[in-house]
């Protein structure tokens, strides 16, 4: 299942919500993915933990550490995704740093991701100059390749990225790391405005969208949002609560209602 259904939603003017969850943050992380789907997510971004996450702030760093300390690795997470495949009903996108793909072998990991039902990947440390090898394997295995555009990305380069990105375009909402922000930044609005002038593909703001109000504001300028640190913080705060999946579900529903 590729991300084409997101394009269909964009075309029919529905706003898109993609919550982010770190795989292995807790042993029932799979239930949290299902809860996000039940809450109204249009797709879920699943983070594979890396020891040296350059673009991530404190909250997601902590989630990665929990997952790695608990012994999660690429294989275990692939197995977990495989068990969700027939139940989740929405596309799953894997976000990870390039070295994890490189270490498993690009051809093998692309095949494995596709086999467990993943729709596409986001690899934040892979720039368009270095994209070719992964792009080839993604295409061969029917995986979308979601690329990032930063507020600092010049127009001409933005056009190149928009052209190469498949599924949607990930517009970074801040010049900075993942983390919770008090307000939606002017950078975010300027960034999506720049991108939307150059492409018809769906454009989602990620990083720096922390509340339903911010999400509502964001979708006035773009097609949807990715919500990461705010959700991960909620999960970290309520890890030992049996109702955690319910919390995740209603968190997602609140965002979904706000952008509808």
């Amino acid at each position: 299942m590729r991300l084409s259904e997101l394009t269909a939603k964009k075309t029919s003017n529905q706003k898109i919500l993609v919550p982010y969850i770190t795989a292995g943050i807790t042993d029932n992380w799979g239930d949290l993915v299902l809860a996000a789907a039940d809450g109204g997510a249009d797709a879920v971004e699943i983070g594979l933990p890396f020891s040296d996450p350059m673009i991530d702030g404190n909250i997601i760093q902590l989630a990665y550490k929990k997952s790695l300390d608990a012994g999660y690795n690429t294989q275990l997470i692939l197995d977990g995704i495989n068990s969700l495949k027939d139940r989740v009903g929405i596309p799953l996108i894997v976000m990870t740093y390039y070295n994890l793909l490189f270490a498993r072998g690009l051809a093998k990991v692309a095949f494995d991701l596709s086999t467990v039902g993943v729709a596409g990947t986001i690899v934040p440390d892979l720039t368009i100059e270095e994209l070719d090898p992964w792009s080839k394997e993604s295409q061969a295995n029917n995986l979308d390749n979601v690329l990032l555009v930063a507020p600092s990305t010049p127009r001409a380069r933005t056009a190149q990225i928009a052209n190469l990105s498949t599924g949607f375009i990930y517009a970074l909402g801040v010049m900075g790391t993942t983390g919770i922000r008090d307000s939606l930044s002017q950078d975010a609005i300027a960034n999506v405005t720049k991108i939307k002038e150059l492409t018809d593909k769906p454009v989602l703001i990620g990083v720096g969208v922390s509340t339903p109000q911010q999400a509502q504001q964001a979708v006035q300028y773009c097609d949807g949002v990715i919500v990461g640190s705010a959700l991960v913080k909620l999960i970290l705060d309520k890890l030992d609560k049996p109702e955690l999946p319910k919390f995740v579900q209603s968190f997602v529903t609140d965002f979904k209602t706000a952008i509808a």
Binding site: Q61, A103, L148
Partner: protein, 407 residues
């Protein structure tokens, strides 16, 4: 000096990365999109100023009048006799701030100034690069913040104090393994959010393009000086050119001077951080290189007696030089490094940095084993002085004092 300078400029034919910043398959630019523009701007500025004679002169004059260059080459008579070789040291320990790091930071601070930046940030392991950056920041009137893993900050307390004395802020890093690799991550994260005002003064030949190339160029003065001096002194090039390798900047700068000679180039890593000896190709900190990592691609921690070599990766140019067999890379363990540290102190009256003692440790082992044949000339870059390490060495030696209190 001016005659030396012109020789330096004439004789140097650098190894250039390709248009993606790669040396063979190594290097490149693997960064979040939010850093691409900053890297490109830096590359453009560096290319422009590095070919500008006025910039070069200012840089070289500063290294002369402020940094204490040129540093001498010292023949080690006593050790040479003992080992049956001819051992020479290129004395970076005699520079201002006590290590080769000054060559790089003067260049980058000057560049930052030309680019209109008002702040420097840096990562540091042993603290030498942090001290050097804080020094350059003070000289150029730039604000400075240095990221240092908490574990390293404890090991190198004196350097933390030095940085503060120089007016710099020191940010202890408590993420990951709390050592150099995590300080790099943290500095990168900070750079993303402050690119407009801030230059990231990276301390070694690592990171995304143009850093490995740019830092190598700023350190090439070391090798180019040494080549000229060695020829004047002996009439020939050295048979062996040896340097320690953490990220690899003193080695890269040294090798740059001898890359087009017949000298054998040897880089010495710490056994507990030997990316070139034991690592696999991978991507971290913005570059493709040899890395210590597990089979799933998680980066391992490095462990050695010297904080400055505790880095699980290595500069991409070294991975390339190893790949094409132009340089070889070996590892030295803590025990033999400590012996080398003591030998140089006692036999030559020079207390080396523990990092530099790795180079000597290999030379001693190789000379004794006949791996370096008799009477061969060996040039070792003594990358820094050992003042910063005496406290740590003392605490190790305490454990093996005899009844008279002698080590």
């Amino acid at each position: 000096m001016s005659e030396d300078l012109s020789k330096y400029l004439e004789s140097y034919t650098p190894l250039l990365p390709d248009d993606k910043g790669k040396f063979g398959q190594f290097g490149g630019r693997f960064v979040p999109e939010s850093l691409v523009n900053a890297c490109e701007q830096l590359q453009i500025a560096f290319d422009k100023f590095w070919s500008d004679p006025e910039f070069r002169n200012e840089y070289l004059n500063l290294l002369h009048s402020y940094g204490g260059r040129p540093t001498p080459i010292t023949f080690c008579g006593n050790l040479s006799e003992l080992l049956g070789i001819k051992l020479y040291l290129k004395r970076e320990d005699l520079t201002h701030t006590g290590s080769h790091k000054i060559n790089n930071v003067v260049g980058q601070a000057l560049l930052a100034k030309r680019m209109g930046k008002t702040h420097l940030i840096a990562e540091t392991g042993a603290g030498q690069h942090g001290v050097a950056t804080a020094t350059a920041a003070a000289l150029f009137g730039l604000k400075c913040k240095v990221y240092m893993g908490q574990v390293d900050a404890k090991r190198q307390e004196l350097n933390v104090f030095r940085m503060k004395l120089l007016g710099s802020e020191v940010q202890e890093v408590i993420s990951g393994s709390m050592t150099l690799k995590d300080a790099v991550n943290e500095a990168m994260r900070e750079w993303v959010s402050r690119v407009d005002t801030t230059h990231y003064c990276l301390g070694s030949v690592m990171g995304p393009h143009p850093f490995p190339y740019m830092v190598r160029e700023f350190q090439s003065i070391l090798g180019n000086e040494a080549k000229i001096q060695f020829k004047e002194l002996t009439g020939d090039d050295p048979d062996y050119v040896v340097a320690c390798v953490g990220g690899g900047s003193n080695a890269a700068g040294t090798f740059a001077g001898f890359i087009n000679t017949d000298s054998k180039l040897v880089g010495v890593e710490a056994a507990g951080g030997a990316a070139l000896s034991y690592g696999r190709t991978g991507v971290v900190h913005g570059m493709t290189s040899k890395l210590l990592q597990d089979e799933t691609g998680q980066i391992n921690e490095a462990h050695s007696i010297s904080a400055g070599l505790d880095y699980p990766g290595v500069g991409p140019e070294h991975a390339y030089l190893q790949d094409i067999d132009r340089a070889s890379y070996v590892a030295a363990n803590d025990e033999e490094v400590l012996e080398a540290f003591l030998m140089l102190s006692r036999m030559e009256g020079i207390i080396p940095a523990l990092e530099s003692a790795h180079g000597l440790a290999w030379i001693i082992r190789a000379a004794k084993a006949g791996e370096i044949p008799k009477d061969k000339t060996v040039l070792l870059t003594l990358s820094g002085r050992g003042d910063k390490d005496v406290q740590q060495v003392l605490s190790i030696l305490q454990l093996r004092k005899d009844e008279k209190g002698n080590f």
